[in-house]
Amino acid sequence: MNRATAEAPLDSNAALARALPLRRGLAIAVAVGVSYYLGTQVGFVLRFPPLTPSVVWPPNSILTATLLLVAPRRWWICLLGALPAHVIALHSVGWMPSPAVLGFFVTNCSEAMIGAGIVRWFSDAPNRLDSLWRVSVFIVGAAVLGTFLSSFADSWVASHFLGNSYWTVFRTRFFSNVLTELTLPPVILGIASIVPLAQQRTTVLRRLEAIILAVALVSLSMIAFAPTGRIFGQIPGAPRTLLAFLLPFLLWATVRFGPFGVSSSMLATTLVAIWGGASGGGTFNVAPNLESVMALQLFLVVVAIPLMCLAAVIEERRSVGNALEERLRFEQMLARVSAAFVHWPSHDIDFAIGTWLRRLGEFLGIERIVVLRIVPSGERLVMGSSWAAHGFESPRTKIAEREVPRAIEKLLQEKPFVFEPWASPDEALRDELELEQGGHCANVTIPLVASGRVMGGMAFDSLTAPRPWPEAQVRWLQQVAEVFANALARKETEDALRASEAMKSAILTSLTSAVAVLDREGRIIAVNTAWTRYAHEPGTVTYAGDGVGTDYLEICRRAVRENLVHSAEVLSGLERVLAGEGELVDVELSSPLTNSWFTLYIVALERAEGGAVISYTDISERKRAEMQAERMRQELAHFTRISTMGELTASIAHELRQPLAGILTNAQAARRFLELTPPDLNELRSILDDIIADDRRAAEVITRLRDILSKGELRQQQLDLNDLIRDVARLLGSDTIIRNMRISLELHPHPVVVSGDRVQLEQVLLNLVVNAMDAMAETPNGQRTVMVRTERMDGSGAHVAVEDAGTGLANQPVERLFEPFYTTKPAGMGMGLSVAKSIVEAHGGIIWATNNPTRGATFHFALPWRQKDLS
């Protein structure tokens, strides 16, 4: 998806978000204009003939109600919408100077603004009239003060532009406006906010009751205010007594239907009374007409005010009772949800959440509840579980942060997000648009917080009708959400634990090494599949037990009794690890039957109860490679030695020829002397002595290569032994790697210079280091280090030490080590050390060996700084 198309929907959404207030403003303006216009028309109609002032004047009250419903920052839209309606309406009645038209508009608006302003200022819920305080504020502010104050201006406009009497206008206008304010706005407010609620809660019986009440009230009003009184003529004291008949029905409405009922009844009564008055009959039809109107107004106002207060008191009581009842129901619900989640096993929590979402939804009378999970970066919400009432769709599975920025911001602050279409603040406009497009009529989203972490939110969606979310309910939902959040968190923790266990088990299973876990007593408590396979493999090493439950220590003890290779080491290692005294043991085992090799590791089990983990790793491949390398190395060593010998052949031959020549010549001379008469016996004895000495010398040449070498032809040069040792270490680098060994150098910081033959001295080091490595074949991995040190001996020469951690020289006669063909190794030729000795001595040096205090042996040689000619 390229950038342009990706951003296009966003741009259009943003444009829509900008367009939304405009569209809404326009809608409000048009609605206000239309109602205002209709209101004026109704006002003109509702007059007693011949053309008294209007008994009720709806436009101002419509404005008041609108201003109570619409936020003050949008009031100007309402007023602007009313202006054309006002102008058109007044012009339709007849000519009036424009300043008067505008003047009346201003006074009408001022009445609504004063009234709504006072109510908004003092009332805690300006658009509701369900408590005594709210009703009182409304009566005093909107019905009395607003009308009273604006009437001064109104009367001035009427007297100034139309020449009417100031106080007459004041009186008629004031009373008609008070009556209208008392009856109309409560009805409008009720329709705007109570009706949607009432729709949900009303039963058929209640609707029936309302209808009966309405019919009865209207009928009785018609009788009471009827122009011709066939019926009321027969009632004593009629028509005045008839007014008393209205009272029970008004009280009925008050008690049963609250302030909305009162206002509706009063409005109905008023309309019927005006109809009666206009028809020229009824109780208040007294001359002059103006007086009749005022009498009617007074009567209605005086009745309406106490009834409204009474209704408010009753409503208050009822709502307190309802709230208590509701609270109780909520508490019960909450208790049940909590109990359910506590007992539910974590793997069933998803199902439980589904069930309880449905119950909650039905309980709250909403259409959908969605559990949303917030991703860690907070950039989107992802749907978890959800419930939707029959016939309603599940929501989208993902919601991006930019779609509901305010909601996510609130969630992250651990605060609920409430969407009520009539009361959402501007900063939530983006969210509002999104929710409205998603078909939401109202929504509250409660954060899901568990152990201080916001996991997401629970969205309670009303999809058919708007509904308010009072604070108490939101608080209660927060408690519910807490229960859900804890359940989700528990499930998350347990899921993570299970996943981790599954992962561990999978890892164990997929290991190619055979692994067994032992408890503190050495009993096998877990094995992997490789172990089982390995244990049943024919010809396997005996250390693999059978399986879970086997006493592994016993298996090891049996191996020791049977005197198996390394068994003592394994047993003591295992005992050490189980006792917590050791951490890691590794032993290399071979199985001659299968020609395979294993490394056995015994590791302490990292847990409070102790135990050990045993693993067998097949190292046959590596071992075979090692052996191959070993063979090659040995061949190389052999070859090197042979070639060294080859190079020395000439000098060896020379050394041997000297005594041989002496012997032959002496013997032949002796033969000649024997032919003399008499033979010179002294001469012959001397010859024989020389022959014997020469023969010894020749034997010495053969047994001691030193003499041969000392007469060999060598290329002498100045050498830094440090360089030489580095070369040798480099030369053996790959060999050490294959053999799991290490050559560590501790060289004198300055060059250690001697004069000698490079190739031969390299041969010495090569032989000593290879010898050291051979000695460490049985040394545990990690300790197989050959240490090569050089130091300068004061004034006399250089000292080189090659230290190993091998078997040491324990049972070997040290003086024989350097003899040719003396070897402790099966494949060895026994030449390495003797060649080294020959060379070192040829260089005027000495070679010797010592046992290390801890482990292994050290071979030393020392060379003089400058020795005499080698030849």
Binding site: A653, H654, R657, A661, T665, Q668, A669, D690
Partner: protein, 126 residues
């Protein structure tokens, strides 16, 4: 000239070779003088000029070949029989080119040496 008056000089660093040669040549009737190194030979005070020089090729210090070459160069040339423990082709060539009578590899037959010495003496105008 009696054989007793014929002096054969032997130069070899190996004492055994020296002694055995001395015995062999003596048994053949020659007078023998032996030297362990060239320097000794060059510093000898005997008036009698050796009739033949039996010279070891490989010795510490100056080699036998070099000694012979320097004798030739200084006009004191003697017939030389070389003996050697090594004896490679190059050495034989060089020795013969320098006027050596024979080059014998150690160990050698008595007849071969005596024959070579006899040839050397014969090659010398008396």
């Amino acid at each position: 000239l009696s054989k007793k008056e014929i002096v054969i000089a032997v130069v070899d660093d190996d004492v055994s070779v020296r002694r055995s040669l001395e015995r062999l040549l003596r048994s053949a009737g020659y007078a023998v003088e032996t030297f362990a190194e060239e320097r000794e030979f060059l510093e000898r005070r005997d008036r009698r000029k050796p009739a033949c020089l039996v010279l070891d090729v490989t010795m510490p210090g100056q080699s036998g070949l070099e000694l012979h070459e320097s004798l030739v160069a200084s006009g004191r040339a003697l017939p030389v029989v070389f003996i050697t423990g090594h004896g490679d082709v190059h050495m034989v060539e060089r020795a013969l080119k320098a006027g050596a009578v024979e080059l014998l590899g150690k160990p050698f037959e008595d007849a071969a040496l005596l024959h070579a010495v006899a040839r050397a003496i014969a090659s010398q105008p008396s």
